[in-house]
């Protein structure tokens, strides 16, 4: 791959002269691949975490691209294949039964995940300062945020199943009458499906919703488990004995990746 020789050239000619930090620029000028140092200047574990996240990004993008392909391959003309408008399905909010509140609950879920992401990054920052107390505090907030998100997703699934969605069938083929009914209500109005509003709709819509949000939810669950393990290790002073809080950074990378995936799930399942 001859063009790869341009990367060090690019580094020398463009990146290093533009670097504001003189110390970092001096570091960049040292020979990279002649041994005796880490060429990427990261620990082994963090490099492997990045490579794992790259492979996981491919997994999620293949699922989301499959969603796009299924959506494009369903003809608009027939009710049984016409893709339903997400606002007509995800319009519930806890304790507000029967009201038309599209997108509100998922926005709250997104807020919870972004908030738990920022507490995670604050834990990482506290880890840089080796402040055990603050790391503990922020890790606990992150765990609470992750658990809250999982609870929200469980509620979302329960509501969707209750409304008639299954892995192998989907009760969201919205008829002409149904669309007229939807157009007559505005945000916050009372809304219930009437008989004749819905019929059998495209199966891949429900199936892919369960597969993709389920896969993402399983990632959130694993992230919460990892965070709990790291939290217990922090309390027991493992990182103080080790002399660095690198483990918080690795758990943080995974947690932010989960947030990153949710950004795209939110965009493709709920917004578009």
């Amino acid at each position: 791959m001859d063009f790869l020789v341009f990367i060090p050239l690019f580094r020398r000619v463009v990146i290093i002269p533009l670097m504001a930090n003189q110390q970092a620029a001096a570091f960049e000028k040292q020979p990279m691949w002649s041994g005796g140092r880490s060429p990427f200047n990261v620990s082994y574990g963090k490099l492997m975490m990045w490579i794992f996240l790259l492979s996981d990004a491919f997994t999620f993008s293949s699922l989301l691209v499959q969603y796009g392909a299924q959506r494009f391959s369903n003809a608009e003309s027939a009710i049984t294949t016409k893709w339903p408008d997400p606002a007509s399905i995800f319009n519930h909010f806890p304790f507000m039964h029967g009201f038309h509140l599209p997108l509100l609950f998922v926005s709250v879920m997104t807020f919870i995940l972004i908030a738990s992401s920022v507490t995670m990054v604050l834990a990482v920052e506290a880890g840089h300062r080796k402040s055990k107390k603050e790391v503990q505090k922020y890790m606990l907030y992150t765990i609470v945020g992750g658990a809250a998100f999982l609870g929200c997703q469980a509620w979302e699934w329960a509501t969707f199943i209750h409304e008639g969605a299954r892995l192998d069938s989907n009760m969201f083929g919205i008829t002409e009458q149904g669309y007229k009914h939807l157009a007559s209500v505005s945000f916050g109005d009372h809304f219930e499906w009437e008989p004749g509003d819905r019929t059998w709709g495209p199966v891949p819509f429900a199936a892919l919703f369960f597969i993709v949000t389920g896969f993402h939810g399983f990632h959130v669950f694993s992230g919460v488990v990892i965070n709990v393990v790291v939290y217990i290790m922090t309390i027991r002073g493992v990182f103080d004995r080790r002399g660095h809080y690198e483990m918080i950074e690795k758990a943080g990378l995974y947690w932010h990746f989960v947030d990153l995936v949710w950004v795209f799930v939110f965009t493709f399942f709920y917004l578009i």
Partner: protein, 112 residues
Amino acid sequence: MEFHSKPGEYDPINYVPHTESHGTSELWKTFWLLLGITILDFVIYFVMGPSGMRNFIFIFFGLVKAYYIVGAFMHMKYERINLALIILVPTIFIIGLIMGLLYEGNAIGLIK
């Protein structure tokens, strides 16, 4: 096989670079930015009718959010350029997958 290095020598297995805190102001700025874009998503959903332009805006906002999450939260802005390249460049293949499968899906939809 276990790897042993002499004291004071570079040890690839246990090497951890020295890290310093950049402060929390950038992190909070990123948080408010992400929150603002999410609220904007919510507003645009109701203000604009469904259209290709609206979908384009949502995808663009998604990419902006991804940039800030990867750059600031995942610390990619402060990593070395060669690490950033080996992680970010392979994602180009996703664009090819999107274009190929949307084209195929559309073709199947026309047959249906």
